[in-house]
Amino acid sequence: MSTIKIDKVRKCFGSVEVLKEFNQVFEDKEFITLLGPSGCGKTTMLRMLAGFEKPTSGTISIDDKVVSSDKVFIPPEKRDIGMVFQSYAVWPHMTVFDNIAYPLKIKKVPKDVIKQKVDAIMEVVHLSQYADRIPSQLSGGQQQRVALGRALVAEPNLLLLDEPLSNLDAKLRENMRFEIKAIQKKLGITVVYVTHDQIEAMTMSDKVIVINDGVIQQVGNPMEIYRNPANQFVAAFVGKIDFIHATSENGKITIKDTDQTLDYDGELTGDVVVAIRPESIHLCREGGKLRGVMDNKTFMGDVNDCYVRLPNGKGVRVIAPPETYDIYEIGEEIGLDFDTFHVYEDDGTDAATKIVT
């Protein structure tokens, strides 16, 4: 088992505070994803779990054993953790077999046991036929699997993955997502996974921790995060979103510079932002909660990706079923219908939709 307790952990590099107070408990056998844009502090958190960085303050315990605090610091080599690095860090001067066998050699495991365990792991990561190759003869995906095999071979209870798929091409990335998830289930280990790719976070995690600017924005399972984003940042970072500026008053929300309104039973008043998932909007000729003009449409095969312009000039992205492409013409007046929307205070961070990762 492996339970991780992170208590009031802070990290500063010089005078820059990259991680503000971080409090979390990761349960045994959980798949936890730290999700956020680059520079948000997620990799720093992971490296503190590994022991490559020391928290400026706070305590980290693994299985009730303090590994890092003001008084205690256990270096990475004594933490019994598996880790996959973003750059894979596969040693170029060792064969696939030697790379994977390394953690066992350090533990002075008998040779025959090493052979047996490495063979078993190579089976798991589909590398059996490459045992004697050196890394430069392998593709990126294969090198990545060597790194995964090496991280798993000593049967750690905790596996850390630092953007392990970011250097792979799209197709391979998709395959590896399922493989990593399957391996985690099979071996029953706790995984902490760092990524800026929300699809990876959504498809693999039991728990997603969204981080921005060193601050946890939201914690929850993928569905909660997607359906009920805690704030504008999370809404924008996870999935696609339309933000529409509006004013809230007396249980009614009025879209800025229009006379269109939405019913609202929340508490916010004054300037607000209405957030709607483009794929939750249905197009209709008559009625609809909002109305606008079809401005632009793109046939994507599986969907019709289009923009509807509201009377105030705001373009609303709609991801509609493909058949709607033929039904609605550009310039046609159209209704937008949707069941759910979220309302956030207008804090002027609309630019957060342009997150660069």
Partner: protein, 569 residues
């Protein structure tokens, strides 16, 4: 994980830092004692000859006309070889690095290799070729053009410039071609797509981009030529062409306190020039460097020479024959010649006896042994310091780690003769350390002068090893020693070997510092060769030089094989 309390370790942060600090401290202490202190002492001696501040020593030294001539000669010869060296090196580097010249790779190796040849070998060769009475080339040209007297006199300022140029242009060649080959080709492509001709592109893009490297190369040639002793001592002395370095050695050999004082004052002058140049090239020119060496190997644009391809190749061949083939062949020929007045191929004029002497005479073998021991120890200690420094510089943020780096750079930029003089004046027991007349003083001097080459090699190798490779071993449970052995060492291994030889080779045939630091028991091969050349037998000296040349080539070849072409000298 069963017993949480047992696994808890006290914070080792303090101890951790102490080890790094200790390493830095030891290296700094070594450099301060053997480099900073002697150099500062020289400056002190120059300005405070009898305890009080006085410019008397300066006045005396610089009022002596012979010294003025020496200063003038140094500045003129170094300046002229700097200009000629760059004028040769730039087109050569461009032709070899960036055009479709024939046999480029061969030429490159050839010109780079001259860099590793001791400069006095060139002096010996040209002395034979351009001796005003019997110089082989002189006589040949005289007969060819039916001249009343021989056309050249090597025993002159002009002769000095010629030999200095032919032996220091490789410094510029290496610096410039490295920068040229690392230039992003798209910069020139952008010029071409804008409509510029190849020549226009060279003039408006390549040349300005290269300017900082060219200036750095020029300064390097200048300071190397100004602090060279081997060439002026062999060529200058017979023609009474004195330079600062030969004057310093003369003053030291006088041995009197006044002599030492005068030597010091001249040395301080040389040191100031060298340090100024070092400052300019590191902090002024270095900042302007547009070209950074990228990890990726950029494939530079290759310019098609078109109809000039054959003429250009011929020109380079002629150049190579003049500056490489003829001198080296002369040294080899001399080593087999009984009577130097006659043709080698005349009957009875061919002999192996000088080669026999080289490999049997006890005195020569002893000196060779001294050189090998001193150079090996210097290289080994140097590599240990280099590895430590590389680790400190690339893997830690330990405070003070830049201090040794700076001192090592200064040491390497200081003229050999100045380092040796400083050591003589301070390491004679006067200040508690007496290593005078031992091999140690020679080893120390070698290290101060040549450490940088090893350090740069290993630092650049370390920079290319991504930190995560080490972290992966750490997370696998490897402690720092284990990580070093399993990951770092195998990956930097070839660079360590290369770095070792980069320190070893120049130390092995070193002349300048050895001339000041040797004792009867600690003669080095470089000084032995110099003595034979000047006093006993030019043929024996040539045989020794030829043996050294073969050694350099063989080591270079082995190095190339061992490191799979990644390194050669």
């Amino acid at each position: 994980m069963a017993n949480p309390a047992a696994a808890v370790e006290p914070v080792s942060k303090k101890l951790y830092f102490d080890i790094k600090w200790l390493l830095i401290f030891v290296i700094i202490a070594f450099l301060v004692i053997f480099e900073v202190f002697p150099l500062l002492y020289l400056v002190f001696r120059a300005f405070f000859p009898e305890g009080g501040f006085s410019l008397e020593a300066f006045q005396r030294v610089y009022s002596y006309p012979l010294n003025w001539t020496a200063l003038k000669n140094t500045v003129i010869t170094a300046g002229a070889s700097m200009i000629l060296g760059v004028l040769i090196a730039f087109p050569l580097a461009w032709l070899v690095g960036r055009t479709n010249l024939y046999f480029k790779k061969f030429f490159r190796t050839l010109f780079v290799m001259t860099y590793m040849v001791p400069p006095y070998v060139g002096a010996m060769a040209w002395l034979r070729l351009l001796n005003p009475r019997v110089g082989t080339l002189n006589v040949f040209l005289q007969e060819l053009f039916n001249l009343s007297e021989t056309p050249f006199n090597i025993y002159s300022v002009g002769g000095l410039i010629w030999v200095l140029t032919t032996f220091y242009y490789p410094y510029a060649f290496i610096t410039i071609s490295r920068a040229m080959e690392n230039m992003d080709p798209s910069l020139e492509e952008a010029s071409k797509i804008s409509g510029a001709s190849p020549l226009k592109t060279v003039a408006t893009i390549t040349l300005p981009m290269m300017a900082p490297s060219i200036v750095a190369a020029a300064l390097l040639v200048f300071v190397s030529a100004a602090s060279c002793y081997g060439i002026p001592s062999i060529i200058g002395a017979p023609g009474n062409v004195d330079t600062v370095t030969t004057r310093i050695i003369d003053f030291v050999y006088i041995g009197s306190s006044e002599g030492l004082s005068d030597a010091t004052t001249l040395a301080v002058f040389l040191m100031l020039i060298a340090n100024l140049v070092l400052y300019l090239s590191t902090f002024v020119v270095g900042r302007k460097q547009y070209i950074t060496v990228s990890g990726k190997s950029v494939r530079p644009n290759i310019v098609d020479l078109g109809k000039w391809r054959i003429p250009a190749t011929i020109a380079v061949i002629v150049f190579a024959i003049i500056v490489v083939v003829i001198p080296f062949a002369t040294v080899f020929a001399t080593s087999f010649t009984v009577n130097m007045g006659k043709d080698l191929f005349e009957a009875g004029n061919f002999t192996l006896k000088y080669w026999q002497v080289v490999f049997t005479r006890k005195q020569i073998l002893n000196s060779a042994q001294n050189s090998i021991v001193a150079a090996s120890v210097a290289a080994t200690l140097g590599i240990i310091i280099s590895c430590t420094m590389a680790y400190l510089l690339t893997r830690t943020r330990a405070r003070g780690r830049k201090i040794p780096d700076f001192l090592i750079t200064v040491g390497s930029g200081t003229p050999s003769i100045v380092i040796a003089l400083g050591l003589i004046m301070t390491m004679n027991g006067k200040f508690g350390i007496n290593i005078y007349n031992t091999l140690f003083i020679i080893i120390v001097a070698y290290m101060i002068k040549y450490l940088l080459m090893g350090m740069r090699t290993i630092v650049s190798a370390m920079t290319q090893i991504h930190e995560s490779l080490e972290e992966a071993a750490q997370i696998s449970g490897a402690g720092w020693l284990r990580r070093f052995k399993d990951v770092i060492l195998p990956l930097i291994g070839p660079s360590v070997v290369a770095g070792w030889f980069l320190i070893f080779m120049p130390c092995f045939y070193e002349l300048t510092m050895s001339t000041l630091l040797y004792s009867t028991d600690t003669k080095t091969i470089g000084y032995e060769l110099y003595q034979y050349q000047t006093y006993h037998s030019q043929q024996t000296a040539s045989a020794m030089a030829a043996a050294i040349l073969i050694f350099v080539v063989v080591v270079n070849w082995i190095l190339n094989k061992v490191t799979k072409g990644k390194f050669s000298i």
